[in-house]
Amino acid sequence: MPRTLQVREALNEALAEEMERDERVFVMGEEVGHYQGAYKVTRGLLERFGPRRVWDTPINEGGFAGIGIGAAMVGLRPVIEFMTFNFSLVAFDQIVNNAAKIRQMSAGRLSVPIVFRGGGGAARMLAAQHSQATEPYYAHVPGLKVVVPSTPAEYKGLLKASIRDDNPVVFIESELMYGAKGEVPDGEYVIPLGVADVKRPGTDCTVVSWGRILHTALEAAEVLAKEHGIECEVVDPRTLRPLDEQAIFASVRKTNRCVVVHEGWRYGGVGAEVVDRVQSSCFDWLDAPVERVCNVDVPQPYARELEELVLPSVERVVDAVRRASYR
């Protein structure tokens, strides 16, 4: 029987199950122990697994990311929580120059099985320094995997897969979704990295979207079906690196149109990579330019009204799909 769980509960189950299954797995970050996580994702873990497996760290992202990388190099499997992914930028050198490169630099002798997880993206009036979608920075880095889930069941299954992966994984959650509910299967399951999921089948226009904003895209797809007779096929790559491009191509070759919808800046965002791959591999199938619906290219505003204007909205997705469909 599937149960209805919040995202934070699904993540908590994933952590607890993997810690139970493999004693090398441990959790580290700011306030993850006694306080049980800024968003309560690590609730109960300190009590259950003890202070050797659940560590509160000082406020030093470069420090605990570095400790985690070292621990992973000697055989442990750390799960590092960034209170928000915005703070990972302080640890950027550790992630880009160390975690991502060690396997290649050691000719495969050392691996870094580490997960960096935490919330990213807009979080309602948290302004320029606490609202960024950092996934494009990490998706550009060879040696990393980048996961951006969108439903509670996927949060759980993809986190379990990330913990078992022998490579460094950047696992970006949504701060606005920790309380979001959805069905989560009973029992053991993992969702493989690098496999897309069609969230809504359709015939007229492919919409590629991921993370929290996928739900905006799905809402737009409903509006488009009801009010404009356009049936969108919504494809969720779930993993941005590696990217399941074949799933995207298969859909575009059917619909001949594509709109990419994501949170984060448009200029040089992951959407650009998706557009390029589609134009490159589906050139003769495309009946219209590939559209991108993204954040406006400005630092995230604090004011609620402005924040909403900056983020992709149902209206902007509807407009883009209609342009791509010439309807």
Partner: protein, 324 residues
């Protein structure tokens, strides 16, 4: 006019701006007494004194943080990050503080900072002395990103960058620091940020590139010309702001595009170029846009010349585009 290489042109630009504006200061690791690991600041400390040109500890976050504070108080710092590979410890300072300060202060506090840093491979520097980090900065609103390919552009663009009231990442292609030589005026001059230069004219295939790979594209244009294939090579010179007009004008004539850069392909800056062209000029395109880029691996030490895009790969991509 003097014949200069890129290092000498950068030196000349710094010299002229230090002389012109007492608010300009130059600092970084080994830039003072030693004159810079590539000699770009040679003799400047002796000429302008230790208050204007000074050495810092090995702390990139500290260097950039100091520059941000100075700029907030109205100075025009020109910090050097010794290799772009070392810029990541300062990533939070650049992305979260420098890029956002004007916006967060309602326009009251500007950030007239120019961060100079050598980028790219080809000097047998291995993982930590070869990276091309432009995509991270081009993606971040609030930053300008400039990458010259020759001495004349290097001087004119660096002076513009220093005089600009917003933060500029000035990426210097170290592979051609000394190899690229040309005539440079001795007096100060500026080149506008955001204007591409057509460095080879042709009607068959547009080639878009910047920095060291401009020279590979020029070699490719020579080879292709021998086969009757005329490449229109644009040296973008600045990635933010981007000369979209020049790009679209060329694409409208050729209908075929090859994008070249050293950085890894996935989510590299070339993706943005391709996506823009596919959005705005799809109906002009005769074939898919080609990208020739670094491979999606960490920068390899032994295989670097296979990793870096060269004339051969550019010609092959142009042929594929032309024969589609």
């Amino acid at each position: 006019m003097s014949v200069m290489n890129i290092i000498q042109a950068v030196h000349s630009a710094l010299d002229s701006e230090l002389a012109r504006d007492p608010d300009v200061v130059v600092f970084g690791e080994d830039v003072g007494r030693f004159g810079g690991v590539f000699r770009a600041t040679d003799g400047l400390q002796a000429k302008y004194g230790e208050d204007r040109v000074f050495d810092t500890p090995l702390s990139e976050a500290g260097i950039v943080g100091t520059a941000i504070g100075m700029a907030a108080y109205g100075m025009r710092p020109v910090p050097e990050i010794q290799f772009a590979d070392f810029i990541y410890p300062a990533f939070d300072q650049i992305v979260n503080e420098m890029a956002k300060m004007r916006y967060r202060s309602g326009g009251r506090i500007g950030q007239p900072v120019t961060i100079r840093t050598p980028v790219g491979g080809g000097i047998r520097g291995g993982h930590y002395h070869s990276q091309s980090p432009e995509a991270y900065f081009a993606h971040t609103p609030g930053l300008k990103v400039v990458c010259p390919s020759n001495p004349y552009d290097a001087k004119g663009l660096l002076i513009s960058a220093i005089r600009d009231d917003d933060p500029v990442l000035f990426l210097e292609p170290k592979r051609v620091y000394r190899a690229a030589r040309g005539e440079v005026p001795d007096e100060p001059y500026t080149l506008p940020l955001g204007k591409a230069a057509r460095v080879a004219e042709g009607e068959h295939v547009t080639v878009l590139t910047y920095g060291a790979t401009v020279h590979e594209a020029l070699k490719a244009a020579e080879i292709a010309r021998g086969e009757g294939l005329a490449l229109d090579v644009l040296d973008l010179r600045s990635l933010v702001p981007l000369d979209e007009e020049a790009i679209l004008e060329s694409v409208a004539r050729t209908g075929r595009v090859v994008i070249v850069h050293e950085a890894p392909r996935n989510c590299g800056f070339g993706a943005e170029l391709a996506a823009r062209i596919a959005e705005k000029a799809l109906l002009h395109l005769e074939c898919p846009i080609e990208r020739v880029a670094g491979f999606d691996t960490p920068f390899p030490y032994t295989l670097e010349m296979d990793y870096l895009p060269d004339a051969k790969r550019i010609v092959a991509a142009a042929r594929r585009a032309f024969s589609y």
